[in-house]
């Protein structure tokens, strides 16, 4: 205990406001008025190593916002007034995430990994410079500390899958933070959603962590009376104000001095929180209860306890030199490449356990192929039997369906990863785009295999051009739309939260792309200039040109059983050779074959870059 440096965290006169609209949009007069809501009002406290502090209060009292303020994660920093000191130093913006570890209310964990694997991957991301042995030791130690060793090899699971219990899941979240040896831990409602026994166990565990020299600050919802003595400090918040902050025994004496003594058989937490609540049943009750809260908070502001706190803060500010430096978390994170490699392994390990997902991803293109084969059976060469129409229809489907399956893939898999990435990038483990890029690397082989299965099946079934090289070109050209569909979805998922909206948006974009770009439903020549320009931006243009050239260039048509068509015999048999069709509808496409391929494949790096940019924007836009 002696060797542990004495750290402290002080919060001085912190206030925070947000501007809100008064009414909903259909109530125009009140919609245009805005009002300022005070979420935190002049909050100050001081806490030292080895202490655990519980923040109590009703919903809407500002508990979570206070925690966000300490962790430097508020959404509108401009409305924030006040200082947070660690060992007397005021923190810079970029120091917050390296100093505090913050466990959020909802656990974001990958559901197919075991506890040990999850922790090991996080350890690898956080402490790459350590040897494998020391990482293993670290993980084992943390699991032992949080009593997870006996379930180390259980799969985490999710709400649907089942898996480890809620309490264990919560402990894994805490363990993930402990890997970095933080000196200050913040936890938002760690006991919510757990049954009472598990909740108690978690708080006891946290207090043990605090006793080992850490600072632990948690917000708690209805703690049980047994925990009253566990907390070193208890804060009660009401309407953004700190009504009381101090030790358990101080609490009883303080409220007694205000004239409210806690009855013997009731839970002091509940009693004091109720005492400082505002009842909104009626205006009269509201005023009555609000004035009681005001009386108590004024009494606290003038109490010795509060003055001592302020004094302690001033003291640490003066003694900055004598105090240890800011206790940063252990941070030897590896370079970007190593991070990507670890993330890729983690994602692959996770999804490789999802059997259904794997089968779906590999077979959905094939399923779609079966569907097409059902309608087309076998392409004929007879113009009167729709040789051209059917081929064009087939190519249209090949351009519009694979992107769609790509969208479905990305929507099924990526949102879970995105949630993990959001969380862990806030902990400073890596950037959001690392996760994105790792996912892209992960899905590429699957996409290629899936399209290969589709191509092999459909190509020979419907009877396209039988040359092996033609098949190769076909496969190469259909792979890109599938991958592009997935990448486009990722771009949108970066900036739009709701997956359903993304689904609709990308789906429409895909349809529009086929219409404008492919030249199959409207020949490019006849389009207005603006659309012609626009079509150069669509991958469908290049893709369908390749497919058209590939299929039509060696083709000979018959007309009603006659293999030789004398010119102008019938209006319905305008051409005898595929090349004529190409020249009429896609002039010059034959000579652009290589260029088309290059441009088509250029979409992949371009979209990956765009997706990275979109996730950079996400860094800025996402709040909490």
């Amino acid at each position: 205990m002696v060797s542990v440096p004495q750290n402290n965290v002080s919060v001085l006169k912190v206030s925070y406001t947000v501007r809100e609209r008064l009414g909903p949009w259909w109530d125009i007069s009140s919609y245009h008025k805005k009002w300022t809501r005070q979420i935190l009002k002049d909050v100050s406290f001081h806490i030292e190593s080895g202490q655990i502090m519980g923040i109590l209060g009703n919903s809407g009292s500002g508990k979570t916002t206070l925690l966000d303020a300490i962790a430097g994660r508020l959404s509108h920093k401009s409305n924030f007034v006040g200082q947070v000191y660690v060992n007397g130093h005021e923190l810079h913006q970029d120091q917050f995430q390296d100093c505090f570890s913050y466990v959020l209310q909802n656990d974001t964990l990958l559901s197919y990994l075991t506890i040990e694997e999850s922790l090991t991957y996080i350890a690898l991301l956080a402490l790459q410079k350590h040897s494998c042995d020391s990482i293993k030791k670290k993980v084992d130690a943390v699991m032992a500390e949080l009593r997870l060793s006996h379930v180390a090899n259980s799969v985490i699971g999710s709400r649907i899958l089942g898996g480890i219990s809620e309490g264990e899941r919560r402990r894994v979240s805490v363990a993930a933070q402990l890997l970095q040896d933080p000196q200050v831990m913040l936890l938002d409602e760690p006991t919510t959603g757990l049954d009472c026994m598990t909740a108690n166990q978690i708080v006891m565990l946290l207090s043990e962590l605090a006793q080992k020299g850490r600072i632990v600050i948690i917000t708690v919802h209805q703690p049980r009376s047994e925990l009253f003595q566990v907390f070193n400090k208890i804060c009660i918040m009401s309407f953004g104000e700190l009504v009381f902050c101090g030790g358990p025994s101080d609490m009883i004496t303080f409220f007694e001095s205000c004239g409210y003594s806690c009855p013997e058989h009731s839970n002091p937490f509940d009693f004091y929180v109720d005492l400082t609540s505002v009842d909104t049943q009626s205006k009269v009750r509201e005023l009555e209860t609000y004035s009681r809260v005001q009386t108590i908070s004024t009494a606290y502001k003038s109490s010795e306890l509060f003055l001592n706190t302020l004094e302690a803060i001033e003291e640490t500010k003066c003694k900055v030199k004598d105090l240890p430096p800011i206790p940063f978390k252990c941070k030897d994170s590896p370079d970007s490449f190593a991070k990507l490699w670890i993330l890729l392994r983690r994602i692959t390990r996770n999804f490789s356990r999802d059997k259904v997902g794997l089968i779906m991803r590999l077979s959905q293109n094939l399923l779609f192929g079966l569907f097409m084969a059902f309608f087309l059976l076998r392409l004929s060469d007879d113009l009167l039997k729709g040789a051209v129409q059917d081929r064009v229809g087939f190519i249209y489907q090949c351009m519009s369906a694979p992107p769609h399956t790509g969208i479905l893939n990305a929507l099924a898999l990526f949102p879970a990863l995105r949630a993990v990435g959001d969380q862990e990038s806030k902990d400073g483990l890596y950037q959001k785009w690392h996760m994105l890029l790792a996912y892209v690397l992960h899905f590429l082989p699957f996409s290629v295999i899936s399209v290969a299965l589709f191509s092999i099946f459909i190509y020979w079934t419907v009877g396209l051009h039988p040359a092996a090289s033609s098949f190769g070109y076909f496969f190469a050209a259909v792979t890109v739309p599938h991958i592009v569909g997935e990448l486009l979805t990722l771009v949108f998922l970066g900036v739009i939260q709701n997956p359903n909206v993304v689904n609709g948006g990308v789906g429409l974009l895909n349809v529009a792309g086929v219409l404008v770009g492919s030249g199959l439903v409207r020949s490019l020549e006849d389009m207005p200039t603006a659309f012609k320009m626009l079509s150069y931006l669509t991958f469908q243009k290049y893709g369908s040109e390749i497919l058209i050239v590939n299929e039509f260039s060696g083709l000979k048509f018959t007309c009603g059983g006659l293999s030789n068509i004398s010119t102008g015999v019938e209006a319905s048999c305008p051409f005898s050779h595929g090349t004529q069709f190409i020249e009429r509808n896609f002039p010059g496409a034959g000579s652009r074959f290589t260029t088309d391929f290059l441009l088509l494949y250029a979409f992949l790096p371009a979209l990956i870059t765009l997706a990275i940019i979109s996730f950079k924007i996400r860094d800025i836009t996402i709040l909490r």
């Binding site: 013997e264 509940d270 429409l508």
Partner: protein, 659 residues
Amino acid sequence: MELQDTIFCSEDDNSLYFTYSGKSNVLEVRNLNYQVDVASQIPWYQKLSELKMPWTYDTDPNSHVRAIQNLTFKIKSGQMLALIESSACRRTSLFDVITCRDHGGKIVSGQVLINGKPSTHQLVKKCIAHVRQDDRLLPNLTVRETLLFIAKLRLPKTFSESEREKRVEEVIAELRLRQCANTKVGNEYTRGVSGGERRRVSIGVQLLWNPGILIFDEPTSGLDSFTAHNLVITLSRLARGNRLVLLSVHQPRSDIYQLFDLILLMTSGATIYCGAAQDMVQYFEEIGYPCPTYSNPADFYVDLTSVDRQTEETKMESLQRASSLAALFHEKVKHFDDFLWKNRSEDDENTVSISTDLSPPFVSEELINMNSHSTDQLPGWFQQFTVLLSRQVSNNVRDLSALLIRGFEALLMSLLIGFLYYGHGKTRLSIQDTSALLYMMGALIPFTVVFEGITKCHSERVVLYQDLEDGLYPIGPYFSAKVLGELPEQCVLVIIYGIPIYWLANLSPESEHFFLNLLFFMFGTCCARTMALWISALLPTMQISAFFGNMLYTTFFLSGGFLISLQNLWTVPSWISKVSFVRWCFEGLMQVQFTGLTYTMNSGNVSYSVSGKLVLRAMDLDSHPLYAICLILAGISTGFLILYYLSLRFINQKSNQDW
């Protein structure tokens, strides 16, 4: 206690709201044994997703769990029974049995009697309000609107408009919802009121109606302690107003515990204690488990009887303790007629204070006359329909962003296709281009409609199936309100979509053709929407619905007669094309545009004219006259509507499944 009165609202008003004037109710559970088959609770699609095929479903003996063992009790109006169960899982099964909502369980022996009659769906709908654990509310209505709509549906005809509003205000005040009464309810994607407030709105929905028996699943979880306490005060006042209140609680605080009058303590299905709350400590003292001072008796005894799963040893030990306690209790209450434990020594004083004191103290003659039973009727079919219609429309209109997105989408599509086939240039559109344009026009808007329809229905279905379970309204009014409520929006969309496209592409300038064109759009979207309604009522989850919808639409799309020529379809797809609304829509649009037109074609140096009729014949699109096509399209959408009605009527989707 005096201090408590100053913190919490003292009960000064005994308003009309809190007194129930119907005849008193008795709920009796006799020797109930209830078995739950865990495996059958997992729906088929979830099993399928875990790669378990239907033929491997053979029943696993371990999956049968005795959820309730030998439960017997009898309570009557004026009493409030709190169910405290220590094992976290399957806490709600008792209430499921009482309300006849068994999810894969079956009653092995014993029965549940309401006023002496075995409980049935009909009886439950009439006299029990059940607040479920999860919140199922329409996200875009405000708190006050939500309650007002329910008030209009649920309160008997005799209530005047102002009485209904007054009732809503009372409930809002009682549940401390005043400050958020005009805020949207919201859900995970739309910002709205907080989780605790949403919980209270769900409770309010049932309190409004306020029948003789009220059942609450975990009303206090997720609420902060202060509101929870106030809520339980409200419930106990309701009970004293001659109602029967049943609630389950999880970790009750000591002050809440003091408000209960009867307690049923269960662990893994076995009854440990059932009787007056204030006698519980004494009972356990008598059998050798005194409650230590300064601790909450509820917490202490829950911990005592709960199964500690940390290690195998503690698990066995605690299980054994629980079963011996249960046996002991069974022995002790055998002699009482209501199977509630009573303290014999002070029998007279204590029980009197429970049963007689709590019976309705202030039911005046006047009240009884006011709410006599003959007038206790729900609003009629037409009124239900209008209320549902206005609820539907308000919920849609409030969601501004969704409306704007949809309108914008339609406009964008229209402009895109319109400019793509810009027809004001030097030459008119060729036959090929015109038919492509007509096909795309007719096929694209239904595509978006199908998906929006499915997503929307699935977001609303939790509310729908809960309301149906509660018997709030029958299927008829909902069906009509749902179908009609979306028509105006659909008309606006079709107009936004249809006008720019028609003008830009420079199609036939006759007004008659233009309106026929819009009519076919309308038919197309109608068919798509009714198809979406049917699919989402037919299939259990949104993913499955979306997948099936996609398949079905693609089938219709491919057999639509443009991408693959109709003559080339082999037998089965050509049957499909007979019911493909995309094909009929295309045929109609083509006939409108091409009949009576002649095209001049150039082939080499020869130019010859082709009549529109010939084009139609070549594409096999002249099989039926225009009016017949209209009839066929109307028939298809009616067909979907019938299927939708049948699915609603006969396929009972569980309201709690969405993932």
